[in-house]
């Protein structure tokens, strides 16, 4: 595990930072968006923002799966938890996300069976152990999570587990990047593309973003030196007037990604229009189970009512997720809204931008 130190070397970091400081940058700051919440946290944890020259700004994007989950999906998850005989299995981050009137955490306090799992296989195990309960796994995540959920569905089918289903609110990142670029109030100069998601979808997945929107893309790792190198590569492209997909995170990502994982996804899921918090409905940006797997589709198994969503009127997560507002610009930030009393998902999630601003205040 020694290898991590290589990517944290203070000397190398300093020389990369010095090189960035020496560059002649345009008068209006270059705006680079880190799409992924893991990057946001990594950037805050190493204190990178304050070390960059003022001419380079990092903007946090919509890459926290919990944060972009639409209010109605949160409410549906809560509705599921209230159904008798249902065990809701979920990743922990979702627990405290406020829905219209409650949260999974509150429901659990009121007696609902909501259990935290660390992986989809835990949920399968739960279904085997509780044959008289319906186990519903909340499928929240991007292209990294979806293959593991697909594997669980396939496994459930092999075992003929008939008390396991998935509530699929999975989302796909490249369509959201396109949607962001089409929005009028946001101007960007480049994307720091997610490392983990790209291990699955590969560099080719961003071709459209780079060519059609003339937007430089660099797939970047999560260590301080990865980030510095990724940013340097973006500045290089901009200086040369190019817009292509480059890979900094070569130790994990190639052009094709992981075909086996994608095949698994394609076998179980199909793309569908999806509503993102802050970004609205984006065509073909979500995943639902294909009809032949409807036995494992919670939205088919349960007749869910239509839900009228009520969000906190002051919460500006939507703008934060689109990168047009930084959290301190929200009047509630740090005063009314804190990790103990979160009003929006961006404050709850460990990868949320408001949470990162609050936890690592710099």
């Amino acid at each position: 595990m020694k290898y991590l130190d290589e990517y944290r070397d203070p000397q190398l970091a300093k020389s990369l930072l010095d090189a960035l400081q020496r560059r002649s940058l345009p008068k209006t700051p270059i705006r680079l968006m880190e799409i992924c919440g893991t990057h946001t946290v990594a950037i805050f944890r190493c204190g990178l923002r304050q070390l960059l020259p003022p001419g380079i700004q990092l903007i946090s994007g919509p890459g926290c799966p919990v944060c972009v989950t639409a209010g109605e999906d949160i409410d549906r998850a809560i509705w599921l938890a209230r159904q008798p005989g249902v065990i809701v299995a979920t990743f922990g981050d979702l627990l405290r996300v406020p829905g219209s009137h409650s949260s999974l955490h509150q429901e659990r306090g009121a007696g609902a069976d909501v259990r935290i799992v660390y992986g989809t296989l835990d949920a399968l195990h739960m279904a085997r152990e509780n044959p008289h309960h319906e186990v519903v796994f909340l499928g929240i995540g991007f292209e990294t999570t979806a293959p593991t959920v697909a594997a669980a569905v396939r496994q459930a089918a092999i075992e003929k587990l008939d008390n396991f289903s998935v509530f699929s609110a999975h989302k796909l990142l490249p369509p959201a990047m396109n949607a962001l670029l089409e929005s009028e109030d946001l101007s960007l100069d480049g994307f720091i593309c997610p490392g983990h998601v790209s291990t699955v979808i590969g560099a080719q997945a961003y071709r459209h973003v780079a060519t059609r929107h003339k937007m430089p893309c660099v797939i970047t790792g999560f260590e301080p030196l990865d980030l510095l190198q990724g940013i340097t590569m973006l500045i290089d492209q901009l200086a040369k007037g190019r817009a292509e997909v480059a890979v900094q995170y070569t130790r994990a990502v190639n052009r094709e990604g992981n075909p086996a994982a994608r095949k698994l996804m394609d076998e179980i899921f199909t793309a569908t229009d999806a509503t993102w918090r802050g970004l609205g409905e984006i065509p073909a940006s979500g995943l639902r189970l294909q009809p032949q797997w409807h036995n494992y589709d919670a939205s088919v198994r349960f007749a869910m009512p239509h839900i009228q969503v009520k969000e906190h009127p002051g919460c500006r997560c939507g703008e934060v997720l689109r990168g047009v507002l930084t959290p301190p610009g929200c009047a509630l930030f740090g005063k009314v809204c804190t990790p103990q009393h979160p009003l929006g998902p961006c404050m709850v999630s460990s990868e949320g931008t408001c949470g990162a601003y609050y936890r690592y205040r710099q």
């Binding site: 991590l4 944290r8 203070p10 805050f44 204190g47 304050q50 070390l51 030196l225 103990q340 205040r361």
Partner: protein, 366 residues
């Protein structure tokens, strides 16, 4: 078991002449004889056997032998420090220790953190029906050894047995008292700007030992818990540097949470240096894999020390001479600005807030 749910059964073992060998029946496989039953908490014969053959024998000392309702102990000089803590760690036996040794170490260390010399402990057991005697014996033996090594006596105890499913194997509470020698004034309020912040070794070992065991993560060398009694080390430290202001054991919530507490209590800021944090490679790797920050991972044999810079060298030398302080080092300093907060200078020179642990990062870690 159903229809027979007496929830709580009182058993006290205030003393018994030890020496009775606990024997497991060699002939016939009678599962009842291999595990704790509700009867063992009934206060009757089975209880007596359990007390005699297991507890009294292992913790044998003159106070316990008196067999009275409470133990009378001698305490002279200085202030008396008292503390109590309950232990629910899962799994009960883990690499580098078990719930028994942990229950002794943890309470001893809590006493030490006020500069006290631990003297006497009490122990309360909550046993789940069906707990294997083999496990119980292992745990009790290890408590006895831990107490002996730390030179403290277990002078009173209590056992309750609850029906299967009402507890998880075994929970232990220990309380302890110790004496604070005159002239020693150690409290979380005593950190002063300019003080150095030291630690006696690597961080995150206990939490990661538990977690790796739970998650089935294997490394080249097993990660061992650092669970140990710090009274020897602290005694030497306080003798050499009586002006130490703060001692704090970074248990649940880890180094980050303990330093935040000190910063708040003393109204000072604390500045950490990421590059000087001592972290074992395998612990760092496991944290990376599980998405944890070692700063928030529990320790059970570590102490954070705040003391005037003038005494820093001496303190480091004393600690490094002790087996539990070989890797002692300075990890930061107390500053006047940003009172109540901890900041860390990162590897690449950035500065970031190190907040308290929120929520529960790892349940049942101690």
């Amino acid at each position: 078991m159903v229809g027979h749910l007496r929830n709580v059964h009182l058993t006290e073992f205030k003393g018994y002449d030890g020496g009775v060998q606990f024997r497991r029946r060699k002939t016939g496989v009678n599962a009842d004889n291999l595990s704790v039953q509700l009867d063992h908490g009934s206060g009757g014969r089975a209880t007596h056997e359990l007390v005699e053959q297991v507890f009294a024998r292992a913790f044998n000392n003159r106070f316990l032998r008196e067999m009275n309702d409470s133990a009378l102990v001698d305490i002279r000089g200085g202030h008396v420090a008292m503390t109590t803590d309950s232990y629910v760690v899962d799994p009960v036996i883990f690499p580098g220790g078990d719930i028994g040794s942990l229950a002794v170490h943890g309470t001893i260390n809590d006493l030490c953190m006020r500069g006290a010399r631990p003297m006497y402990l009490t122990v309360g057991f909550i046993l789940e029906e069906g707990l294997l005697f083999e496990t119980l014996l292992h745990i009790v033996e290890s408590m006895a050894t831990a107490a002996r090594e730390a030179n403290v006596l277990i002078v009173a105890g209590d056992t309750k047995v609850v029906p299967k499913g009402k507890a998880d194997k075994i929970f232990i509470n220990t309380a302890g008292i110790g004496i604070v020698p005159d002239g020693i004034n150690v409290t979380g309020h005593n950190a002063r700007p300019g003080d150095a912040v030291l630690i006696n070794g690597t961080i995150g070992d206990h939490g990661m030992a538990i977690l790796c065991k739970r998650e089935g993560l294997a490394f080249e060398n097993e990660i061992l818990s650092d669970s140990s009694s710090l009274n020897g080390l602290i005694r030497e430290l306080l003798e050499a540097c009586p002006h130490i202001g703060v001692l704090r054991d970074p248990t649940r919530g880890g180094v980050a949470t303990a330093l935040n507490e000190i910063a708040r209590q003393s109204h000072v800021g604390i500045r950490l240096y990421e590059e000087s944090l001592p972290i074992r490679d395998d612990v760092a790797g496991a944290c990376e894999l599980l998405g944890l920050d070692p700063l928030y991972v529990a320790n059970e044999g570590k102490v954070l020390v705040c003391l005037p810079q003038a005494a820093e060298q001496e303190a480091l030398e004393v600690m490094r001479r002790h087996p539990l302080g070989r890797a002692a080092c300075r990890i930061g300093e107390v500053v006047a600005d940003e009172p109540g907060r901890v900041f860390m200078q990162t590897h690449i020179g950035g500065l970031r807030l190190v907040d308290m642990l929120r929520g529960e990062q790892l349940p049942r870690i101690c």
